[in-house]
């Protein structure tokens, strides 16, 4: 059985930063990731990030991803790629699937940074080829450099729907419309303005009724909805599209946290069931930490700050940081996190995060 001091499950934005901080403090750190490359979603984030200088604002996600890979290597982080963590067992033993065999890895601390799943939306025709998640579309166009279709309908006007629409335009597709069930655009106005300038209509109060086509999507039928999300008859419109992208939210990828026995809270503002954690990102089970989208769906910039916080706290608990230094640096990271959770786009998440921390104290 293999051994490590800190095992980080998931090598995306949160997992990489957690591993870097722990390793820099002197801990022996192993990242386990099921993909061929670490970096998670960062390499498909070809847009410039928001935030301030400490959050690397104005830098593209793909560049941040490259920098994190280099930093992790310099810090001496071990990386196990193409490796799936299939379970967490007593005494913090991880079950790994490595190609044709399984292994066990025992760890003193586990940091879960497993990320999120895209939500689906079911409607007649939703199983036709051509209906796909917006995140999957983003992987196709920005990583694999393949257009899923020329004419696109985007469902959902949150930041993911707006950003992926923009990137589809950059990739050479036509986005016929972005539709949104709510009566308002949930994502940043500036993302919406970019695609409006490019001539893309954004229809609020609309839903997709069905997808039609023989072998694959040939058209989408959309309709206006009332306040109860019921389609208004007579408002149907037919859009000639080849691809319907679903950007209807993300859910924390929480199976391992459930299996480990973490306490959960249901917080819609954070994407549903989220493991409770304290201000060190530690769960109710000592030695198990969470960070990033698993700990609540937010932006990549927040995921990176949470990862750093979890990594630092984990290293501190193993005695790698003098208490005073640990206290100071964690405080700084908490302030950086707080700065990303203010204003009308952040307040709801800030409140939900407080509830999540209170849930830790409940019996």
């Amino acid at each position: 059985m293999g051994k490590t001091e800190i095992a980080v499950v998931g090598g995306g934005a949160a997992g990489m930063t957690a591993a870097i901080e722990s390793a820099r403090a002197g801990a022996q750190v192993t990242i386990i990731d099921e993909n061929e490359q670490p970096g998670g979603q960062l390499f498909k984030q070809i847009h410039k990030f928001f935030g301030s200088g400490v959050h690397r604002a104005g830098t593209r996600g793909v560049q941040i991803g490259r920098d994190l890979l280099r930093e992790a290597e310099e810090a001496g982080v071990q990386t196990r790629l193409n490796t799936v963590v299939y379970g967490i067992f007593p005494d913090k033993r991880l079950g790994l699937i490595c190609g044709d065999h399984t292994e066990e890895l025992a760890s003193e601390i586990i940091i879960l940074a497993t990320g999120a799943n895209e939500n689906a939306l079911s409607f007649p025709g939703w199983t036709l080829p051509g209906v796909m998640g917006a995140g999957a579309t983003q992987t196709l166009i920005n990583i694999n450099r393949v257009l899923p279709g020329r004419r696109i309908l985007m469902v959902g006007a949150g930041n993911v729907g707006l950003i992926v629409s923009y990137q589809l335009l950059q990739a050479g597709a036509d986005v016929i419309a972005v539709i949104e069930g709510l009566s308002y655009i949930g994502g940043y106005g500036v993302h919406a303005s970019k695609i409006r300038r490019a001539g893309v209509p954004i229809l609020t109060g609309f839903t997709v009724l069905r997808a039609e086509g023989k072998e694959s999507v040939e058209r989408a039928v959309i309709a206006q909805v009332d306040e109860k999300w019921q389609p208004i008859s007579g408002s149907e419109e037919v859009l000639e599209v080849e691809t319907i992208c679903l950007a209807v939210g993300l859910s924390p990828l929480s199976e391992l946290a459930w299996m480990a026995g973490c306490r959960f809270s249901f917080l819609p503002a954070l994407g549903g069931w989220v493991p409770a954690h304290d201000e060190n990102m530690q769960c109710n089970l000592p030695g198990i930490y969470v960070a990033g989208d698993l700990a609540g769906i937010e932006e990549a910039s927040t995921a990176m700050e949470e990862g750093r916080l979890a990594g630092l706290a984990a290293a501190e608990s193993l005695g790698y940081l003098p208490p005073e230094e640990g206290r100071k640096r964690k405080e700084e990271l908490r302030n950086r996190l707080a700065a990303l959770r203010i204003g009308s786009f952040g307040e709801g998440r800030a409140t939900a995060k407080k509830k999540l921390m209170r849930a830790m104290c409940e019996k």
Binding site: F50, G58, S193, L203
Partner: protein, 175 residues
């Protein structure tokens, strides 16, 4: 497509309304524009973001704390260098030179599509809804390394459209 709009404003339409723009502290008055080329900041929501403040060599853009505050623009400090245009992750900063010629103004904007237009090309200027509103002559296509792959394009447009034109119609790709 029939687009019914009950309300105006960025949260409903994706386009900041005239009222939202004029109420935002980054949007200069027309009077300020007459004094020379300056930037126009069309940032109307409390997004946690401040790279415009850090990059401005003149201190003409101030966000302060918390970083969700809207950028406050001091037009008298701005020399129109335009460094803030490509750094803005929201692509919400433009430069306008209202005095370019007797009947022409210039508008500079961020552009991240291929192919790029070339200097002296005549392209179509589009407004905030993407509607082509005029012919526009491409004066400059800037893409130095420090812009990190955001090109800044400057076009000449009829003076009365200086505060309307915000981009150009995307050019067709070669198949």
């Amino acid at each position: 497509m029939n687009q019914t709009r009950k309300k105006e404003g960025v949260r409903t339409t994706g386009i900041p309304s005239k009222e939202e723009l004029e109420a935002s502290p980054g949007y200069p008055s027309y009077e300020a524009l007459t004094r020379g080329p300056i930037v126009v900041i069309e940032c109307v929501q409390d997004i946690p973001c401040n790279p415009c403040e850090s990059i401005c060599p003149k201190g003409a853009i101030r966000v302060g704390n918390p970083i969700t505050r809207l950028p406050v623009f001091y037009p008298e400090e701005c020399d129109g260098c335009g460094n803030c245009i490509p750094i803005c992750p929201g692509q919400a900063i433009f430069r306008v030179d209202i005095n370019h010629a007797e009947d022409k103004a210039t508008v500079s904007f961020p552009y991240e599509y291929l192919p790029l237009p070339k200097k002296n090309d005549i392209v179509q200027g589009v407004n905030r809804t993407g509607e082509a509103v005029c012919e526009a002559e491409v004066l400059r296509v800037q893409k130095p390394r420090k812009f990190a792959q955001t090109t800044v394009i400057t076009v000449a447009v009829p003076k009365e459209l200086a505060m309307e034109v915000r981009s150009i119609k995307r050019l067709k790709r070669m198949e």
